[in-house]
């Protein structure tokens, strides 16, 4: 059962790849990333928390299906950072030459939620913790995957929350929030999530 589920997921994933040129570009970018990440394993330094989170951030995009009504933003796959940016240049370096579903991944820093139109993934910095609930309420209508490393993010209605477990970056998923926004999370993603909650945000 599990295998067949995996195959159907794989097929779905392949269907996403609509433009071969972009696929090739993405492949090349992936290879480059792999070289950056994994070359010379003996001397390789352990990636920092934010480097891992930056990589996870765009990889999430590969396991999410947006509703067809989502406004198109051309051949770009924008990842937006709201509030204080913890990644700095790491994010830009990580997503450089990467592609999700054949679209070029770009990093955008935004100061207000209004600028988040067209974003596919919205990272909300912990600096916005106080107005998180309000932000999330608005974001629900924007069909955007909300990610944060702020504590209690899921409880406040966020979709994916980075957690640190034994110095390893893991993540938890609020499936209800994602579904409410019309996003379809792949079971493959849920499989590797530390925790998947389905209760409604209060």
């Amino acid at each position: 059962m599990r295998f067949s589920a995996g195959v159907s997921r794989l097929r779905t994933g392949l269907r996403w790849t609509r433009w071969p040129a972009c696929a090739i570009a993405a492949g090349a970018a992936g290879a480059l990333l792999a070289q950056v990440y994994f070359a010379a394993p003996q001397t390789r330094r352990r990636p920092t928390e934010y480097e891992v989170e930056a990589a996870y951030l765009y990889n999430f995009g590969k396991f999410v299906r947006w509703p067809p009504s989502t406004p198109r933003s051309g051949k770009l796959f924008p990842i937006c950072v709201l509030g204080q940016d913890p990644f700095g240049p790491i994010l830009d370096a990580t997503v450089a030459d990467e592609a999700v579903n054949g679209k070029e991944v770009v990093a955008k820093r935004i100061s207000s939620l209004e600028a988040a139109a067209g974003c596919r993934i919205l990272f909300i910095g912990s600096s916005e913790r106080k107005q998180m609930e309000q932000i999330l309420n608005q974001a629900d209508k924007m069909e955007v995957l909300t990610v944060s490393d702020a504590p209690r993010f899921l409880q406040e209605g966020g979709m994916i929350e980075f957690v640190l477990i034994q110095d390893h970056v893991r993540f938890e998923v609020n499936l209800t929030a994602a579904r409410r926004a019309g996003l379809d999370l792949s079971s493959e993603l849920l499989k590797v999530a530390t925790r998947v909650i389905t209760r409604k945000a209060s």
């Binding site: 794989l10 994933g13 492949g27 992936g30 290879a31 493959e188 590797v192």
Partner: protein
């Protein structure tokens, strides 16, 4: 019956063996081809199964690799426990670092990373009863995972063993079926041949060429064989008949010729018998003539001379002496004439019988030849038929003459034994024996004497047997003359 059995077995068994060999070989070949095909297709399906598993594992572990969740990957891999033939499986990152692995048995070492060759997503190889498959799985257009699966070929081996068992069973069953079918179907082939062989044996055993093989009513080689065989028999029979006819013709002619010869011989025999009788009659007549006329003349002459001698005193002394001489000459001549006459045909033979005639003759012979002759006669010899008495006398006369002329024997013995139905005459001497071929039994270079031939003819005329035995101890002539009851005269004088 035993021969028939043997014959039948030799042809039938050979046909059956050939059929079974052919069908067995064809079946074995087919089975081997099937086995080989099964082996290849099983390997192909095994590889395709492994490919599916590798793809499933690959797509199932992509997220685990991307989000560095080895636990999830191991969980995915652990599903392989459902495939007991999978020995080992591993998930690698695209750069070759092992991410997670699965072992069926705890002690199994990890496999080193063998990526598929450049430009290919998958590779597999068989070695040491195991198959290893490596597949690179891409996600979102990028190589994301390399999966390696190793499986044993136990399934293949057990399948092969099971198929081999089935093949052996099928082979045995098919051979039995082929045997039965062949036994039934070949009867139409071997039975006519066996029948033909039987007929051929009967023909050669009984030399009976009138037997014919029954035609098969088909149009194949066997009926051609039967036809040819029958044709051959007909020819042989024809020649046999012709030969038989020629033989009987020849026999008839031989019989005819033999009868002619027999007739000629018979007339010759009659002729010689007549000759002998004529000779005997002639001798008797001459002897009587000599005795009756010449003897009377000589007697008269002697009487006259005796009368003249009474008057001899009146004659001159010369004349008287001549007269005396003449008288002596007449007396000698009378004696001589009588001897010749009696030798030609002893009057005693007709008058008093064989015994006195023989006694007279033997006595005279001994005197003339100085050969001591012993004469043994059966006391009750009596009178015999005239032909027999004449023959016995002439045989003895001839033999003694021969003894005197040729043998040089000083003695001779004559024996006559009379039995109820035959009289046996035996003349023996102690001389040098006869020269080979002189006994008249063969017509060698030295012609037998006419005397012996005459003896034989006499004996044959009387249906008797003449035997001559000659050697260093002398010669014995034995004649046995049958006495026919009609001719048997009284045994009195």
């Amino acid at each position: 019956m035993a021969a028939r059995k043997r014959n039948e077995t030799s042809i039938s068994r050979r046909l059956t063996a050939m059929n079974m060999l052919v069908s067995g070989a064809a079946l074995l070949l087919a089975c081997l081809a099937f086995l080989g095909y099964t082996r290849i297709s099983f390997k192909q399906s095994l590889v395709s199964d492994l490919t599916i598993q590798a793809r499933m594992i690959g797509s199932g572990t992509v997220s685990a690799v991307l989000f560095d969740d080895a636990h999830s990957a191991r969980h995915t891999l652990s599903a392989l426990r459902a495939s007991p033939h999978v020995l080992y499986a591993a998930v690698y990152r695209p750069d070759g670092r092992r991410f997670a692995e699965y072992r069926r048995d705890l002690g199994r070492p990890s496999l080193p990373f063998h990526p598929p060759p450049a430009g290919k997503v998958q590779a597999h190889w068989f070695e040491r009863g195991q198959v290893t498959l490596v597949r690179s799985v891409s996600f979102q257009g990028k190589p994301a995972v390399v999966v390696s699966i190793q499986s044993d070929l136990g399934q293949l081996h057990s399948l092969m063993v099971r198929y081999a068992e089935i093949i052996i069973l099928v082979l045995c069953g098919s051979l039995i079926a082929a045997f039965l079918v062949s036994r039934i179907s070949q009867k139409s082939i071997s039975a006519p041949i066996v029948k033909l062989a039987e007929i051929a044996r009967a023909v050669s055993r009984d030399t009976n060429y009138s037997i014919r093989a029954r035609p098969q009513g088909r149009n194949d080689e066997i009926s051609f064989l039967v036809e040819s065989f029958n044709g051959m028999l007909a020819q042989i029979q024809e020649r046999d008949n012709a030969l038989e006819e020629a033989r009987s013709n020849l026999e008839e002619r031989v019989n005819l010729r033999t009868a002619e010869l027999e007739q000629a011989r018979e007339s010759l025999r009659t002729l010689s018998g007549q000759l002998i009788r004529t000779q005997d009659d002639e001798r008797r007549r001459i002897a009587r003539e000599l005795h009756d006329s010449s003897g009377q003349v000589l007697a008269a002459l002697g009487l006259n001379l005796a009368l003249m001698e009474m008057e001899s005193s009146r004659l001159s002394p010369q004349a008287a002496r001549a007269l005396s001489d003449s008288l002596t000459l007449v007396q000698d001549m009378t004696k001589e004439l009588r001897t010749i006459s009696h030798l030609l045909h002893p009057p005693l033979l007709d008058e008093t019988g064989l015994a006195p005639a023989l006694r007279w003759y033997v006595e005279g012979f001994s005197q003339r030849s100085n050969i001591a002759v012993q004469l043994d006669l059966t006391p009750e010899l009596g009178r015999l038929p005239r032909d027999v008495e004449t023959a016995v006398f002439r045989i003895i006369q001839e033999c003694l003459t021969n003894i005197h002329r040729h043998s040089g024997s000083p003695t001779a013995r004559v024996r006559i034994v009379r039995a109820a139905e035959a009289v046996t005459v035996e003349i023996h001497d102690d001389g040098a024996g006869m020269a080979p071929g002189a006994d008249g039994n063969s017509s060698g270079p030295s012609r037998p004497g006419v005397g012996i031939q005459g003896m034989r003819e006499r004996v044959r005329q009387l249906s008797g047997v003449l035997e001559i035995q000659s050697g260093k101890g002398g010669t014995t002539v034995q004649a046995v003359l049958p006495l026919l009851s009609a001719d048997l005269g009284p045994a009195v004088v």
